[in-house]
């Protein structure tokens, strides 16, 4: 009883410990800081996977705990990526342009430099003008602010409209999906100002850090991703523990009843929706510099559906379950689609995993939903029950809290 509810939950400590050990291990194994056991590109894959874990736990809070099946959180992830990508692209292009203009007899005017950057960036979409949304692209702090503020505002406005009119369940899911689709379609246009389907590229080159090399940049981003995941895990563990967690889960189970207790349910949903959107955007801002490129296809509704699949397979309503689901499914996905899995020759038909992986994933999703709704995370319950000891036949249905009290 003296422990705060957050740390009463042993799983938080375990997760942070595992994350720390993993980070130390990758650091020791990387090219830049360790013995070089793993390649730089694999460090990036691991770093990206941590970002996916971060958005997965955000999804778990909004869906698993609060019951809002959002099919739009990858839109926020993408916006985070675009926001940081704009600065990366601008600053890098500025460096290149400044370098090439430096050889001129007359020093280039700021207008000339700006025009040259514009031509470099927007040439692919037949333009050289900077669209208004690039107004702050020269400033890293402002773009970093945009990473959280733009998705936060979008989530706030969208959520306010949707929750206020009491849209729930499948209708709300469709609405969030429509939002994602609209955003993706908008970005696909060449005159959206974000280079249409070319997206933003070259994001792995961090301006000002040219001397570092990708091996160093990859491990630094890995650390940043691990830190963000750790902090995100703490934040969400705090949100879903204690009284807030109690109210949020109550809203999931019976929101009408929560209203009659005097809680303004819509405000709670809005809070959860917005804070998870902002964290998803932070995850995106860390992900895309490691991926090197972002384009509107990343925001397509399928990405958000994948997110729901990860969380379902990993286990809804427990944060570590969502993280496990993200790791497991995304790594399995790259193994199967990357040609890692050996094809199976059935004699009459050759099972090629690059084609059949989605079918396998779909079947696993259905199987988990039907037969094992606790997901992979549910396996930990067996371990946990053993550790608490057996409280005898009559007390078998009792909870750990009671067991300790004896």
């Amino acid at each position: 009883m003296t422990r705060t509810p957050l740390f009463a939950n042993r799983s938080v400590l375990i997760v942070l410990l595992v994350l720390a050990l993993f980070t130390v291990f990758v650091t020791l194994a990387s090219q830049a800081t360790g013995f070089g056991w793993i390649s730089t590109s694999f460090v990036k894959t691991l770093g990206k996977t941590l970002c996916l874990c971060l958005i997965a736990i955000a999804m778990d809070v909004v869906w698993g705990y609060c019951g809002i099946l959002s099919l739009g959180h990858f839109a926020f992830f993408g916006i985070g990526g675009y926001a940081v990508g704009m600065w990366l692209m601008y600053a890098r292009t500025e460096q290149i342009v400044a370098g090439s203009l430096a050889g001129q007899a007359l020093p280039a005017t700021p207008e000339e430099i700006s025009a040259a950057i514009g031509t470099q960036i927007f040439g692919v979409v037949g333009s050289s003008e900077f669209p208004p949304i690039w107004a702050f692209a020269h400033s890293l702090p402002l773009q970093l602010l945009a990473v959280v503020i733009v998705p936060g505002l979008l989530a706030l406005v969208f959520g306010w409209l949707a929750f206020r009119s009491r849209v729930t369940g499948v209708y709300l899911s469709i609405l969030t999906q429509a939002m994602t689709l609209a955003l993706a379609l908008y970005l696909f246009q060449n005159d959206s100002g974000l280079r249409g389907n070319n997206g933003l590229s070259g994001l792995q080159n961090i301006p000002g850090l040219d001397a570092w090399g990708q091996d160093w940049i990859s491990i630094v981003f890995f650390w940043a991703s691990a830190l963000a995941l750790g902090l995100g895990y703490l934040l969400f563990s705090w949100v879903v523990s204690g009284k807030m967690g109690s109210v949020i889960r109550a809203i999931r189970d019976d929101e009408a009843r929560v209203r009659f207790l005097g809680y303004h349910v819509e405000s709670y949903k809005l809070f959860v929706f917005t804070i998870t959107a902002m964290v998803a955007a932070v995850a995106g801002a860390l992900y895309y510099p490691q991926a090197g490129i972002i384009n509107p296809a990343e925001i397509a509704p399928i990405a958000s559906i994948y997110l729901a699949v990860w969380v379902a397979i990993g286990g809804r309503g427990r944060l570590y379950g969502a993280a496990i689901g993200a790791v497991f499914v995304s790594l399995a996905s790259s193994w199967f689609t990357g040609g890692g899995a050996p094809d199976i020759d059935l004699g009459f038909y050759k099972l090629v995993w690059t084609d059949w992986w989605l079918v396998l994933l779909g079947l696993s999703f259905v199987a988990v939903t039907l037969f094992f709704p606790q997901g992979i995370g549910g396996l930990f319950d067996f371990v946990a029950v053993k550790r608490q000891g057996d409280f005898g036949p009559d007390d078998g249905s009792w909870r750990s809290e009671e067991g300790e009290a004896k």
Binding site: K243, D253, F260, G262
Partner: protein, 246 residues
């Protein structure tokens, strides 16, 4: 005794069916009031209207000294004004413990940030223990509400109602699923609560109503058929015809 709640001329139609028909009832503070009537008389709908769940087609529902109009308010705002409700079918949060259920109902600030930064105080812990004692669930505090028996869930919901510390308690069929001894405890508890607040109890069980020993309102087809002491209304020939006679 001053008037706390004034329902006047309220009508509700569901798909052309008039469930509440020009209903007028006023409740004082403190007061204990029993509402009886045959199935479908509109007793639950009456509570739905007061708590904001159902919007009436016409009429007024006025509340408190300032005669606030409840009809324009959201459910949560009405609850914060001091109206608590126990549902006909016990509705507690089954996946949460008895303690969590009570803690959620405790009278505290209800905003998201108040709740996020809420620290359990000694006062609240003591209050939860008191309530648990009162509803006989002291040794069940750490159990999931879903594991309780039907009667215990009823008790828990009554406990949550008391935890809110409302000025008006609306209690829909509290005794359903309770043993005779539990029923007796429930009447005692409601009578005690009504010493300081307004309590409206819907109940079919005549023994239960008799023990409450209070003013009775008989509803029939959405309006008041008779009102007065239990002996008075049970002598009313119309009441005998539509309710007691069957």
């Amino acid at each position: 005794m001053t008037t706390l709640l004034e329902v006047s001329g309220v009508s509700v139609t569901f798909d052309g069916f008039r469930a509440i028909n020009n209903l007028s009832i006023s409740i004082g503070e403190p007061e204990l009031r029993a509402v009886i009537g045959p199935n479908g008389a509109g007793k639950t709908t009456f509570m739905d209207i007061i708590t904001g769940k159902t919007k009436p087609d016409s009429g007024h529902v006025l509340w408190g000294e300032k005669s606030l109009n409840l009809l324009g308010m959201s459910e949560s705002r009405i609850a914060r004004e001091g109206i608590g409700r126990k549902f006909q079918k016990p509705t507690v949060f089954e996946a949460q413990t008895v303690r969590e259920n009570l803690a959620m109902a405790l009278r505290n600030d209800r905003g998201p940030f108040d709740v996020l930064f809420y620290k359990r105080s000694q006062r609240d812990s003591t209050r939860i223990l008191e309530l648990a004692e009162e509803i006989g669930l002291l040794d069940q505090l750490a159990r999931k509400a879903g594991e309780l028996s039907h009667g215990q869930k009823q008790w828990l919901e009554i406990g949550m109602l008391l935890a809110q510390d409302p000025r008006l308690l609306l209690v829909d069929e509290p005794a359903a699923g309770m043993t005779p001894a539990e029923r007796e405890q429930t009447t005692d508890l409601l009578k005690r609560a009504a010493e300081t607040r307004a309590v409206v109890v819907v109940e079919h069980d005549m023994e239960f109503v008799r023990r409450l020993n209070c003013k009775v309102t008989v509803l029939h087809e959405g309006s008041v058929l008779a009102e007065g002491s239990l002996d008075h209304v049970t002598k009313n020939p119309e009441v005998i015809e539509v309710y007691l006679g069957r």
